[in-house]
Amino acid sequence: MSTTSIYAPEMARLADVRPLTELEKLFVIELPQGRSLGHQPGQFVMLSIPGVGEAPISISSSPSRSNGHFELCVRRMGDVTGVLHNMQAGDWVGIRGPFGHGFPIEQMRGRDMLFAPGGLGLAPLRSLINQVLDERSAFGRVIILYGAKRPAELLFRDELDAWAAREDVEFHLTVDRGDETWKGHVGVITTLFPAITVDPRNTIAVTCGPPIMYRFVLMELLGKGIPETNIYLSLERRMKCGMGKCGHCQINDLYCCREGPVFTYDQIKNVPEAL
């Protein structure tokens, strides 16, 4: 038997670190020999710092823009992310993965896409959004409804501006509370829904956000007649292995890390611990 371990990380280099907000930074990571991560949108990696710890982080970059790098958008929150936020380009981190079931993009081509990320939920959805935009002609309408608590918490400001400027993207932005410079829409993300109409038979909805958000966004999506099998969610759980063994991420009998983190609403609507 070989002495390889599925728990031993591969060391990778931070190629770049870009501040996004007060709490979030984008970490651009380079695998050895310029290898690509080979992920699907919606998958995650286990990111570790030797001697500090390991945490599951969703992959924020699109496979269509891999170019030998991948990107993680990370909030400064705990031990691992606290140390990570003090690291710079050239520093080393451990990577395992990619893990989990991502978004089935092959089943999404040809459809209208409705994205509804809330707050840090944009981090995993950005991977799919950029993949869709890079294959723009393969999809129908692209609608993005993005909400954050405050203007200062909006992620990827440059990209938001670019999406807003595109004629082939219907982009709507809101913040729960504005500030003196904010001229846009104010209100929780659900307040963006009345303004849009969708063809429910041909629309795929994709949402990710804090647990409290799902219930209300789901009501809006179901209210528009989008079938439960066409509503995708990405769920967050504590994870220690990423491979369906350690037990931490279990949602009743589902392992978030294996069967998820991307689920259809149909898959989890009768799973009481899911939402």
Binding site: M1, S2, T3, T4, S5, I6, Y7, A8, P9, E10, M11, R13, S48, I49, P50, G51, V52, G53, E54, A55, M77, G78, T81, W92, G94, P210, P211, E236, R237, R238, K240, C241, M243, G244, K245, C246, G247, H248, C249, Q250, I251, N252, D253, R258, P272, E273
Partner: protein, 341 residues
């Protein structure tokens, strides 16, 4: 494979010979109870034990193990996987624990084969022992279908009086016996059948329904009032999962040496009964209530593991019942749910 005879006087010499080549785990006295632990001498072996406090799981999934060493310094940290395995014999494994090992084998093989467990397992030989008496009032192996062996061993011993009759399960098992055993006679095989027939009535049926109904029964019991009642009593100490032979959940920890030149990745047993088990860094706890954690344990034992691995997720050993400080009883819980269904 064949049936062999191991005279009782030959057990000590056999174990002594095994100890020269293997780390030998077996039942041994631990205060007034028994542990299933490495033997220091063949005389430590107590094949008359009823049940060990911890199961033989500790030999296959140790409470803590190192999985990698990471050398720190100039340049890229160097990751060296560590597989902690050594030739081991588990001598005198009761049949409930044999079924538990089967479940662990499936769990650590599924999807992503786990070399740490599997290499230890590959280097481990299992000598099991047929139980002729129930351990005590808490065992419910008959209800769970684990009260007698159906494979999964290298050698399986049954006490027929002056000797053990040994079913040879594998060639590696055959090699273990060496010159210490001889072929069984027809009379000895008849004696084995008598012993096995006589054992059936001694084992009580504690579950008041067929264990195969457990997944369907528990599927209807998600909002049963018993969970709140268990939650009120549970101290969230994790004793039940520590002693459970089919609990394999774990934590992965990274540590660093005081000299900062070496980091370690450690795996340690964890418990779904502990408050922080399902808590994410932002503070959200997806199983915050003790009632929800006890429900999760019971559903995992009675439903989730059985459905996922097609093997009993609870093997009826009764250890969680004996270890519980507030007398939470998995059999009574299942029976209560069944009565109210």
């Amino acid at each position: 494979m064949s049936l062999r005879i191991l005279d009782k006087q030959a057990v000590v010499p056999l174990v002594e010979a095994l100890m020269a080549d293997y780390r030998v785990f077996g039942p041994r006295a631990k205060g007034p109870q028994f542990g299933f632990e490495p033997l220091d001498s063949p005389a430590d072996l107590r094949l008359d034990y009823n049940i060990s406090i911890l199961s033989p799981k500790t030999a296959l999934q140790p409470p803590q193990e190192r999985m990698a060493t990471i050398r720190l310094g100039e340049g890229a940290p160097a990751v060296e996987p560590v597989i902690e395995a050594q030739p081991t014999v588990l001598f005198g494994v009761h049949t409930c624990d044999l079924y538990a090992i089967r479940l662990l084998d499936r769990a650590f093989t599924a999807d992503f084969p786990d070399a740490h467990y599997l290499e230890r397992r590959r280097q481990t030989l299992v000598v099991s022992l047929e139980c002729l008496q129930p351990c005590d009032e808490h065992s419910f192996c008959k209800s769970m279908g684990t009260w007698t062996a159906d494979g999964g061993y290298d050698l399986h011993m049954t006490d027929i009086g002056d000797a053990y009759i040994v079913h040879v399960g594998t060639e590696a098992g055959e090699a273990l016996l060496r010159e210490y055993a001889r072929p069984a006679t027809d009379a000895e095989v008849r004696r084995l059948n008598e012993v096995l027939s006589a054992k059936w009535p001694r084992f009580p049926q504690r579950l008041e329904f067929d264990a195969a109904e457990l997944p369907a029964l528990l599927a209807t019991a998600y909002n049963h009032p018993i969970w709140a009642e268990l939650g009120e009593r549970c101290l969230s100490c994790g004793s039940c999962t520590n002693v459970c032979p089919t609990c394999y959940c774990f934590n992965v920890l990274d540590t660093v040496s005081l000299t900062l030149d070496e980091a370690s990745r450690i795996r340690r047993w964890d418990s779904c009964q502990l408050d922080e088990f399902a808590r994410v860094t932002s503070g959200e706890n997806f199983r915050e209530a003790r009632a929800a954690r006890q429900r999760h344990r019971m559903l995992r034992k009675g439903k989730y593991l059985r459905e996922r691995f097609n093997a009993p997720g609870c093997v009826g050993c009764g250890r969680c019942i004996r270890a519980c400080l507030v007398h939470i009883n998995i059999v009574e819980t299942f029976n209560t749910i069944h009565k109210s269904a």
